[in-house]
Symmetry: C2
Subunit: 252 residues, 2 copies
């Protein structure tokens, strides 16, 4: 491409960055925009065809550039996929956090259901991206360190509701003992996440179960396991998620 590289045209869906990214020279700016354009096109291709149909060559074609040029921006297909994974985690996390913020002041159970619904709705609207992060891990792919922080955002929104309920003394936690091994595990976790001691081992354990349960529900629905089984998806989800909330001590 020429000097004042396309860039401006680029985004059939991408582009629209510019604001707040006015650093560096022409090349640096073009790089940011092209990187974004590639990711946007990849996301679009993901949405229509699924993860393993994602083709660097197809993206290059749509961008009117040689397929080899893509490798200036992503060292491999896996690296592009990883970038999409991080974006997906962040997008889902933002959706959960938005629901949490929007429900401020409401009763704990309302907020709980709101955040859970946000997770499910995001999944329904981003099926392939959901599959990318909560489905079968791609072969030989190891989650880089960059993914752990974004991955935590959604669940931390839920944790906050539980912690709040306990700090306000309105929680009805299950008063069951847990084995010593689990107790130690939970102590470490509580320490790492800065969760107060008022959230007991039983609740901590239940919280993780609930976390897996929530995504089990969403995954089963998205991945087709509920086909022919659950007809009333919305009602069923709300009801199940309310039960999950009770199991971690959130009062009705």
């Amino acid at each position: 491409m020429g000097p004042a590289v396309g860039a401006a045209s680029v985004g059939s869906t991408a582009a629209a960055i510019s604001v707040g990214t006015t650093g560096g020279g022409i090349r640096e700016r073009a790089r940011r925009e092209l990187t974004a354009a590639i990711k946007a096109l990849a996301r679009q291709q993901l949405a229509t065809s699924g993860a393993d149909c994602l083709s660097l060559r197809a993206i290059a074609r749509e961008l009117d550039m040689a397929s080899s040029a893509i490798y200036r921006y992503f060292a491999s297909r896996d690296e592009l996929l990883t970038a999409l994974v991080i974006d997906a985690y962040n997008d889902l996390g933002a959706a959960a956090e938005d629901a949490l913020a929007a429900s401020a002041g409401q009763p704990a159970m309302s907020r709980w259901v709101s955040v859970c619904r946000a997770v499910r709705t995001w999944g329904l609207n981003h099926q392939h991206e959901y599959g990318l992060i909560y489905g079968t891990p791609v072969p030989g792919y190891r989650a880089p360190r960059d993914t752990v922080a974004p991955a935590g955002r959604a669940v931390l929104a839920l944790v906050e509701i539980i912690v709040n309920a306990h700090e306000q003394g309105i929680a009805r936690p299950p008063n069951e003992a847990v084995p010593a091994a689990i107790s130690a595990n939970m102590a470490r976790l509580r320490n790492e996440l800065g969760i107060p001691l008022i959230v007991g081992d039983g609740v901590m354990t239940a919280m993780i179960s609930m976390w897996a349960g929530l995504f089990g529900l969403v995954s089963f629905e998205l991945f087709g396991q509920f086909h022919g089984i659950v007809d009333v998806r919305d009602d069923f989800f709300d009801h199940s998620v309310t039960r999950l909330g009770r199991s971690v001590g959130i009062p009705d």
Copy 2:
């Protein structure tokens, strides 16, 4: 397939059929053996490399035949994958049923945990096959009718425990009302599966939630979501699964 169709489960790698498969002529027999060999090799390749690394050409190479010859036995890569999916469902289902049978006479909760453990253990020992059936749907999402019956086997083993507990009057079901829409859904399901009315709507609903919860636990463990979170996997699983059992009325 032929009259006294194979069914002899094939060897772990291939061949070794012979017994009980004396139907038809040379060609029919060769077809059965080659079909089994292809599937065995595919399973092996699946175990080492993952689902989307499965290559018909590689299988053909290992079988010393032209890649085009494979298409005499499986019309496409997807069809081979579907066969593997069915086998995986059946294998998992058999593991669950074995655990159910082996625990006959024990208390309901013991049987419950045994079957759940069988599911998890099978998953740990067949990670890629598990991912094939409970992970992201691969072939652009379509589950042929042949998969629904095998897919039901594992969960039906769990359902049997719950039904037995209710019929014996030892269950402690959650006595909560469910919305009318869900109630109708559960009535249909109860009818289709032949579940007695004594298993109420609340338990039916909880059962499906529990089902999703169990596989959510296994999936999270297998797909790496518990990395750095849950250290004591065995203890945590047993504990969580016991809680799930209680939530569907199984007494301690």
